[in-house]
Symmetry: C2
Subunit: 327 residues, 2 copies
Amino acid sequence: MKLATLPNGTPDGTLVVVSRDLQRCMPATPVAATLQDALERWEKAEPKLRELAARVEAGAGEPFDPSRALAPLPRAWQWLDGSVYDSHSHLMQKLFKMAPVVHERPLMYQGVSDTFLSSTEDVPLPSEEHGIDFEGEFGIIVDQVPMGLTPEQAVGHIRLLVQINDWSLRTFAPIEMKTGFGWINAKPPCSVAPVAVTPDELGEHWRNCRVALPLEVRWNGKQFGQADGYQMGFGFHELIAHAARTRRLVAGTIIGSGTVSNENYREVGSSCIAERRAIEALDQGEPATSYMHFGDRVRMEATLPDGSPLFGPVDQRVVKAATAAAR
Amino acid sequence: MKLATLPNGTPDGTLVVVSRDLQRCMPATPVAATLQDALERWEKAEPKLRELAARVEAGAGEPFDPSRALAPLPRAWQWLDGSVYDSHSHLMQKLFKMAPVVHERPLMYQGVSDTFLSSTEDVPLPSEEHGIDFEGEFGIIVDQVPMGLTPEQAVGHIRLLVQINDWSLRTFAPIEMKTGFGWINAKPPCSVAPVAVTPDELGEHWRNCRVALPLEVRWNGKQFGQADGYQMGFGFHELIAHAARTRRLVAGTIIGSGTVSNENYREVGSSCIAERRAIEALDQGEPATSYMHFGDRVRMEATLPDGSPLFGPVDQRVVKAATAAAR
């Protein structure tokens, strides 16, 4: 099943059920007004949403335009982002000259969740001097998760998969990391691809609670990376259990994988510029690729191997924010 | 003006206007159903809420029981906690053997905001082995704040003041800090005193965007600390500007001061156990005071010098959580 959120003038939009080919949709209003609403009573809502999905698949509904959709959850009560691709962590440690972190536990931070940008809207940022970077990720959305559950118990709470661009401002990253407090300035709101899908939509490409599909990243129209999502050091079920160790997770909590990255990065490329800069530093002594400029565009999409769509693309520009004051 | 939120079976409760002496209240429903609702259109709502406050002050309304109130915002879209008392930072660095942090920028992390506990409910935590600690803080609630504003522009966005107990699990703190990613396991949901007040309620005790009042902390009935809130290295207006450097802040964002702490900590005591343990380590070579046990009670309250109430007390027990699985 595939779900999306269309704009209706309210912060949470209107939930729609989308056809597999992303060509048609039908309002889910008879079942749930918003995706948050559906997630809060998922066990009851899901079978009814699947009935609507079958009708859309049979040709009912209206045309769906992914570029018009909001983020599936335009705001969420919690956004926890992991960083569990070892090749990404190793490259970041080299780039930022950080001490290596031992991965007995998944790396995870809590980020801004009051705003998730749509896949096509301009991304307003204050300055090119901040080292504007994209980060292609996969993510999950859970229903309510009790405190203290095991990874095995967590599997059933993975209700939806999403594809995320976690915008990052690299000049702040090492400064904020050194405090130990995590990121505020380095992590403005993320963008999310238009369609959230249930795990069964991936078939054999959802394995060990990982997305076993390449994430194709294009920067200003040029191929940048196509790393596969499978090489997570911890699966999403383990990320849930880690997050829920001392807190419950409310329905609608989104958990990210961190930047998708593969050990053979010289062949498959990267899902963020910082990683390419780290590879350049390794190979040539210093980074060569600049971070993004205003007007630059990034496109990210993971499809099934036959090219059939899943999440739809993220495809958008960064622009200078109209700030309230010059800083 | 003083505001509180009473339970009504919904996650956000019912907003009430409370008398100065915390004895009476009146539903704010004609103006705003919830505090979040009021904050989203504060400029229009505030004058009408003040009219209701005048009527409550004149004897209208019904009895108010602070112990029944929820947190003023039982959930919020964003919780950003500073740590800007230098004496606290110095003591924590000694206790956790962390490198000193240079304070050109305020320390701040993003914490769980989907749940704020009331001032009297039991606090469910998984294990005494996690180093259960309280942290007495002051905080502010803002209306919508644009990205990139100056500290001076931020002053007017400080709409309400609150008093917070930021529960902390100390065994996770240094482990998570070393990752640079901030805290997930170390920071379960906070508790908040029952009443949020407009800054004018503090009179001359609201100075330089700081709460110039002692926070009285009692642990199992015994005096533990009465540090004054004034010694912040950065004022709340500076914390807002820092947080909003690369993001807007949605209405209802809560920003905390971090553990209230004073340079003369040997005289005034502390607002968390970790700090006392650090002082013991300095004075006697090792910490002597244990962290909290299940059944322990902590009470925190800041009043005006004549004893008249402001926020009401936080006064609650920690208990063992009914976890979904033994870990």
